[in-house]
Each structure stands twice: as structure tokens, then as C-alpha cells.
Symmetry: C2
Subunit: 177 residues, 2 copies
């Protein structure tokens, strides 16, 4: 059976700041019509920055939907028309103050493909040069430094719960072990 669904109609239900929500009707592969809720998100990037001593720079932020702080790789949303790589360079600088000689592409992931269009491109940054960080207004975060081995253990122990961060750490292993 060919698995496909065709848009029949699309209605904007909520126009927001980060997300817009649409309720679509789609024709399924058996010809029936079903509702499909779609949270439209611009997508983003995340970067795991590792210095020449093997130390990684992470950010701890309060995540309102989770109701607690999470330790994450530096990350951010794509601005309109922005390339993933430029976004990675910008977010790395904004959140940690680093520029990097090398950004290694670790692929991308759909965070919640059942209801959200969000796709995140994942990078490993090496050859770090310190500058000054300048988070967005209203963005409060602490930069924390961990060895890569510690981060790997924290993933195994369930102490890192953000999906993109788990993926960045586990995918970076082949470059850092």
C-alpha cells in the first residue's frame, strides 16, 4: 500500500509568535478524509561546542512547558530565510560567545512529526574561539562546562532529557571517542 496523505483543506486556528496552528483535512490512502492538526514551526539548529581539551559548553535554561530547567546544547530557531549553518554560527555566538573553526553536520531530526513541522539540524563545533555572549532579550541561561564523557554518562543516567541534546551527544561520539 502506498502511504500518502493529500491536503484537502487547511484552516489557520492560531497565529502565534513561535508557532502557528492549522487544522487540515487530508485524504488518506483509502480515500477517507481525516483531520490533521499541524503546529507550524520555523525549525532550528543545535550545536555541541567542544574545545581542544574535550570540554563541552552546554546551556541550562528554564523551559516553561517542562516546568523546570533543562541542560541542553546551545540552540535556536531559524530566522526568516536564514541558512542552517548561519543560524548555527549565530546561536553558538549568542548563547556561548564562541566562534568555531569547524562545524560538523550531524544530520537533522523531526522532533514530533505526528503534529509538528519542526526539524532541527544538529552540529558539532570544534576549534572554538572565545568572544562575548549576548543572549536575546528575555532569554536567561547559564553556560555550564562538562567533559564529553560526563555528558555521555548523564545521557545514560537520564539526566539529560532534551531530545535534540541527547541526539547531539550520542551522534558526536564517533568524532570524540
Amino acid at each position: 500500500m502506498e502511504l500518502t496523505e493529500k491536503q484537502v483543506s487547511s484552516e489557520l486556528k492560531y497565529k502565534g509568535v513561535i508557532v502557528d496552528v492549522y487544522l487540515d483535512r487530508a485524504e488518506l490512502c483509502d480515500g477517507k478524509i481525516a483531520r490533521r492538526e499541524v503546529v507550524k514551526h520555523p525549525g532550528g539548529v543545535t550545536v555541541l561546542p567542544v574545545d581542544s581539551d574535550g570540554m563541552c559548553y552546554m546551556v541550562r535554561q528554564y523551559r516553561y512547558p517542562a516546568g523546570k530547567t533543562l541542560l541542553e546544547t546551545p540552540a535556536g530557531k531559524l530566522e526568516y530565510g536564514e541558512e542552517h549553518l548561519s543560524c548555527a554560527v549565530r546561536e553558538l555566538s549568542e548563547e556561548t560567545g564562541f566562534s568555531a573553526d569547524e562545524l560538523i553536520d550531524l544530520g537533522c531530526c523531526y522532533t514530533s512529526p505526528g503534529f509538528s513541522t519542526e526539524i532541527i539540524h544538529v552540529y558539532l563545533a570544534r576549534g572554538l574561539h572565545a568572544a562575548k555572549c549576548h543572549p536575546d532579550e528575555g532569554e536567561f541561561l547559564n553556560v555550564e562546562k562538562y567533559s564529553f564523557d560526563t555528558l555521555t554518562q548523564m545521557v545514560a543516567d537520564g539526566k539529560i532529557e532534551d531530545a535534540k541534546t541527547v541526539i547531539a551527544i550520542l551522534k558526536a561520539a564517533k568524532y570524540l571517542k
Copy 2:
């Protein structure tokens, strides 16, 4: 600086089938007020089922928000009041027809903690027993069988793009290698 944000108000903007969307106002750690968009989702589970020959049972589904099919570990949303483990047993049965002697807890992940409450519990299932699968109405999926090594290579090659699936495969490695 203590990183925390306190809810000041919460307004339901969209009441949907899978998600509800709220626009909250929150007090930030500097006392300022900011808007916070929250997509409320019941959360879910995903299960990587591996048989005694080391073959894994995956599902391929058309994911409307992604606009294409994705290869994923069997998964589903929590029903009201349902325990994660019961949900894992149910979804494994519904999507692949298997029951399992052993469900190993691989931890949980927030898929998009910047805007969504969704948290997914990840399991590895071993000791599989075949029965009959019975997907939900309107849910079309193909079950596909891969060796664990092939899946690991597909993750490395970017051929598996669903975040929870990447995490399930990479976290399961310590039990299967």
C-alpha cells in the same frame, strides 16, 4: 541567578484533538513579564522491539506535518490516566502484533521543550511473541524488519530522521552490541 519562570495567566487559544494551545504570561527571573506559547500534548511512548535473532520491527508511516513517510519505532500517545508501561505494551501490540517478555526502560525525552509539553518514554522490548496487529482506524503503517546494525548505520547516514527513533536506537546499543 536562579532560573525560573512563574505563570501569571493562561489563556486557551485552541482546543484540538491531539494538542491544545495556550498563550500564557509568565514572570521571568528579572521580574519582567513575557509571553509563553505552550502546546499541551498528553505525552507518549516508543518501543524498539528486537527478536531473538537481533531483528528489529519498525513502522513506516506517512507523517503529514513532515510531508513524507518516516521510519520510526512503534509509538503512540498516552490515553487518559494510562501508565507509560501499559501504553508501551498496548502500542507494541497495536502496531506490530507483538507482546514482549521484557520491556527495558531507556529513559524519557522532551521532544520540543521550548514550546511543547510532550514527553516520550522510550523502551526496548525483548522476548517477542507474535499475535495479530490491529492499528487504530485511520492509521496506516507498514511494519519493516531491519537488523540492529542496519538501523545504527541508517541513523549515522541520516536515513532515520525521527528524534525519538534516533534516541531509541542509540540508547539501545548498550544492550544489543
